[in-house]
């Protein structure tokens, strides 16, 4: 933390009486610890390897005449070279482990290392998905125990565990809705989605064969209940609502929305991306939600890993639970956890559910993201019911602290609408001509922070969505606030240097137009081109 010490000196700035000096260019292009790294294709040969294996013997084979003769063209490196290559690359990344990562809607919270340790226990890491069930009772118990927590925390009836990520979970929920409607012979065509929704919502509804229509919002950033009611009718299969929504606000009318949708014969899908703001404080099931995916990598701290893997279990209401995808797990009264696959699904349904199960099918091979289930369950057990409640409270407290500490210098479009939930939303109103949210974000990089989510939600001009999460200390928040305040002031004053930011990152701004106009998506040997 480079906060000033008592004498006013900050780490990284010259001690009084000494001048900062910049050095000459270097031969290597490196700058001490900032190391340039070529592509593996440029440093490796086709004959190097970092593994010990016997030389192929040749001779006969049983490859059916398909044996390969031409080279594949894969570069290889020894272990020390490999470790160095990827370690050097890693140092060009920003990460939660390095500092505050306030990406709104993405929930970049600390990833506890106990999760990693547990996921690597041989009984979890070294188990095949199609081993006989008697040899994987512990894995099934993990799935069932996590499922129990998710059901209790959301106040729902059932949960589909197999979806691989949030968007896959959305698809699962929408397919459950479609299956439930079709089961009652009620084909409907339209899913209503607010303009402020994540892009995955309309994409999912379209993928499931629905037409997407907008739900209007009110001036204070919430769903317009009256307009929604006016649109509901026999053609509307359901609504997809994010709660807390992407403006960082709780949908106060959620119960009334659900009641109206149900009265019109539709279902309510809730995008659970922001469940971390309310976990332990309110249960979506109590608000009439029929389906909601839970991003285990958001609320329950599994690592984001540079873009994935995620995991998106979907909690379901009683009306939708029968349609959940295969496979699923169920605990019977004798305490045994069963794995229900295609084989035996019908018999199990007859024996334990009165024949009511009518799965819409299978969404993926195997059983879902087990490696994420172990991590999420570890996190949940660590916090417990009381700790999870504290998680939501601290997440909301941290976001409101940022909102109220900066609303005098940054335009907060819904600042008057009351407290925010886990994220604070600002717009670019008041910036000097020619300076944009992008410029501010890039300058934050120079200040040592990952920028916030930019230009989302679409309903606010130059949107900046700041989500600090509960794992930031007050000191870290104060430093971020000071940095953002300074950069915002410079944006309003018209400081032109923002337009060339970042100045101190491993790369300056990258030419995305060139990348898209002349796509270079794989390496090719310049000597052969």
């Amino acid at each position: 933390m480079n906060a000033p010490n008592k004498s006013g000196w900050k780490p990284g700035t010259p001690v009084e009486g000494h001048n900062a000096v910049s050095g000459p260019d270097t031969v290597t292009g490196n700058r001490a610890l900032m190391l340039e790294e070529p592509l593996i294709f440029e440093i490796a040969g086709n004959d190097s390897t970092g593994v010990d294996l016997p030389e192929p013997a040749g001779g006969t084979n049983r490859l059916g005449g398909m044996e390969r003769s031409a080279p594949i063209g894969l570069p290889g490196l020894s272990e020390p070279e490999t470790v160095r290559h990827y370690t050097r690359l890693s140092r060009q990344n920003y990460a939660i482990d390095l500092g505050l990562f306030p990406l709104g809607s993405c929930t970049m919270k600390h990833n506890p290392r106990l999760n990693e340790k547990v996921a690597r226990m041989p009984g979890f890491a070294d188990v095949h998905p199609l081993q006989p069930v008697d040899t994987v009772r512990g894995a099934l118990e993990v799935i069932n125990e996590l499922a129990h927590w998710l059901i209790e925390l959301t106040g729902m009836h059932g949960v589909a565990m197999s979806p691989k990520a949030g968007a896959h979970g959305e698809l699962c929920g929408i397919l459950c809705i479609r299956a439930a409607l079709e089961a009652r012979g009620d084909a409907r065509e339209v899913i209503l989605v607010p303009e402020s929704a994540h892009g995955t919502n309309p994409a999912t509804a379209a993928f499931a064969g629905y037409r997407v229509e907008d739900i209007p919002a009110t001036k204070d950033g919430r769903v317009d209940l009256e307009a929604l009611k006016a649109r509901l009718g026999p053609d509307v299969a359901g609504v997809m609502i994010t709660n807390p929504n992407t403006c960082g606000l709780f949908e106060r009318d959620m119960k009334a929305i659900s009641d109206a949708v149900h009265a019109a014969g539709g279902f309510v899908y809730c995008d659970g991306a922001n469940f971390n703001a309310i976990v332990g404080k309110v249960r979506p099931g109590d608000l009439g939600v029929d389906a909601m995916h839970i991003n285990l990598h958001k609320t329950f701290s599994t690592p984001h890993g540079g873009g994935g893997p995620g995991s998106g279990p979907v909690v379901l209401s009683e009306a939708l639970s029968p349609y959940a995808p295969l496979p699923y797990t169920a605990r019977t009264e004798d305490g045994v956890v069963h794995l229900i696959e295609e084989e035996g699904a019908e018999a199990f349904s007859q024996e334990h559910f009165g024949g009511s199960m009518a799965s819409f099918g299978r969404m993926t091979a195997f059983h879902g993201q087990m490696g994420m289930f172990t991590r999420a369950l570890t996190y949940i057990l660590s916090h417990g019911a009381d700790g999870l409640r504290q998680v939501a409270e601290d997440a909301v407290l941290n976001a409101n602290y940022i909102l109220r500490s900066l609303e005098d210098v940054l335009h907060a479009p819904f600042g008057e609408s009351g407290p925010c939930m886990h994220e604070a939303l600002f717009g670019d109103k008041g910036f000097a001509d020619g300076l944009s949210t992008l410029d501010l974000a890039k300058e934050l990089i120079d200040e040592g922070f990952h920028p916030m989510t930019m230009y989302f939600p679409l309903v606010v001009h130059g949107a900046m969505l700041v989500e600090p999460t509960e794992t930031e200390s007050k000191a870290a928040l104060d430093q971020f606030i000071a940095a953002l305040r300074s950069v915002a002031e410079r944006a309003k004053e018209g400081d032109e240097s923002l337009k060339t930011a970042p100045h101190y990152a491993p790369r300056r701004r990258l030419d995305e137009t060139l990348a898209a106009r002349k796509p270079v998506l794989t390496w090719s040997d310049p000597n052969l081109v």
Binding site: S90, A119, G307, E343, T522
Partner: protein, 453 residues
């Protein structure tokens, strides 16, 4: 609470800056009747690191880990030795705790890795372009089918009977909602795949033909003749590969005319993990199809000072921009698994992958010969790489169950994979990799001799 840095003093100070008298004031928008007034009853409370670890270790001990058994399971998930440095690198916080590289100036590590990954996958598959990965092989397979529909503007999908049944089920499930017509087929226990039968099902309305290579029974076949037949009817050939190590020994699908090659990348760098997270691979042979691809793509460019750098590109295909007109609703990729794959593939290199493939095939041949000598057992396949089908003359499910008592995981029974095909019930899929010892093979052979006697 060890993961929560705020102290009560901090909380008090922050509330007063906000102008709220209590935390509850911040939840005023939640209707009073919906608010929980305390921790949900009946659930455990906060627990120490030591206590949680103990609980989870107890659950993990209820599973039979592959390393503690004579292990022969495959069918789309394979046990290979993963070098220690792979796990070290994926646990570096700069990779583990980074997000999708939306700010390329401070994400060059992830981006360069993805560019290298795409290049490795494209070469392995014999294709022009690979994306930055999908959830897993089965979902990548469906995405390929959906893409073929966009490219050909046709909706009839021909599935090989020897496609992994889970993959076929995923395609059939999704097709119910997209109104694609699925022409599926039952697998048959023949020494070689029925290529003529497959080709005869391709017609002018066909958008794509989906073939697995090596197929679910472990068999190999020349793909070029299927590609030619598909192209003759204006259809695309989609080839599914669930064992990328095989491509170190056999000709790639792209080189044989496959238009879209998808598969499961788990074998390289990613452990078994009871089925996930895994790594969907997705590549196209013809670069003009790139704009119809699902998922993220990383591309090369330059920065404002002229240095080479990498960015996510062609994003207008994706949901965050195109919304309901996107090529897919996918948002994540399987980034950390892609990193593991890329690191492991770099350690292998051309030389290592070929040696690994050769060793797998050598051991599989030895195992097939030994197991064929068990009375009552025959090997179905004319050709295979590291996995083949045994016929046991009795329900293989029962045999597999019995052998677990001796810590033998004998393979995957076809009865489990194809529950409604009694004609397949005596089939057992046996996978052999470099982690399988000759003692393991002998253990399995002796045990089969005992059970089948």
């Amino acid at each position: 609470m060890r993961y929560l840095p705020l102290t009560d003093a901090d909380r008090g100070e922050m509330l007063s800056r906000i102008g709220a008298s209590s935390i509850d004031d911040l939840f005023v928008d939640v209707p009073q009747e919906a608010r929980l007034d305390g921790p949900i009853a009946g659930l455990p409370l906060y627990a120490s690191e030591m206590a949680v670890e103990k609980h989870m270790r107890r659950l993990s001990k209820k599973n039979l880990a592959a390393a503690d058994a004579a292990f022969f399971c495959g069918a789309g998930a394979y046990r290979h030795h993963v070098p220690a440095s792979v796990d070290h690198i994926i646990q570096r916080g700069e990779f583990l705790t980074a997000y999708t590289p939306y700010q390329p100036e401070i994400a060059q590590g992830t981006l360069q890795m993805l560019f290298e990954f795409q290049s490795q996958v494209a070469r392995l598959y014999g294709c022009a372009v690979a994306n930055a990965s999908m959830y897993d092989g089965s979902t990548a397979c469906w995405e390929a089918v959906a893409m073929a529909g966009r490219v050909t503007k046709k909706k009839r999908v021909v599935l090989s009977g020897a496609l992994h049944p889970h993959y076929a089920e995923v395609v059939k499930t999704m097709a119910k909602f997209t109104e694609d017509e699925i022409a599926g087929a039952s697998p048959s226990l023949t020494p070689s795949p029925d290529v003529d039968g497959l080709i005869s099902r391709i017609d002018e309305r066909t958008s794509c033909v989906v073939v697995q290579y090596p197929d679910i029974l472990g068999r190999l076949t020349d793909l070029q003749q299927i590609a030619d037949a598909a192209h003759g009817k204006g259809a695309l050939l989609i080839v599914v590969n669930t064992e990328p190590v095989a491509l170190g020994a056999v000709t790639s699908p792209g080189e044989q005319g496959a238009d879209i090659v998808v598969g499961e990348g788990q074998s390289i760098g990613v452990g078994l993990q009871f089925g996930g997270p895994y790594l969907g691979l997705f590549a196209v042979r013809d670069p003009k199809h790139v704009r119809q691809m699902p998922g993220r793509l990383c591309g090369e460019t330059v920065d404002a000072s002229g240095k080479r750098g990498f960015v996510l590109t062609l994003s207008t295909r994706e949901q965050h921009i195109r919304r309901e007109k996107a090529t897919s609703n996918i948002c994540t990729n399987s980034g950390l698994c892609a990193l593991a794959f890329s690191v492991h593939m770099t350690l292998l290199g051309e030389k290592g992958l070929r040696a690994l493939a050769a060793e797998n095939h050598r051991l599989a041949c030895l195992a097939a010969d030994r197991l064929a000598r068990v009375p009552g057992v025959s090997v179905l396949n004319d050709s295979f790489f590291n996995e083949f089908t045994l016929r046991l003359g009795t329900d293989a499910r029962e045999v597999v169950r019995k052998l677990t008592g001796d810590d033998i995981l004998a393979g995957v029974s076809l009865g489990r994979l194809f529950p409604n095909h009694s004609d397949l019930a005596d089939g057992l899929l046996v996978a052999v990799t470099e982690t399988t010892s000759e003692e393991d093979v002998e253990t399995l052979a002796s045990a089969l001799e005992g059970v089948l006697a």
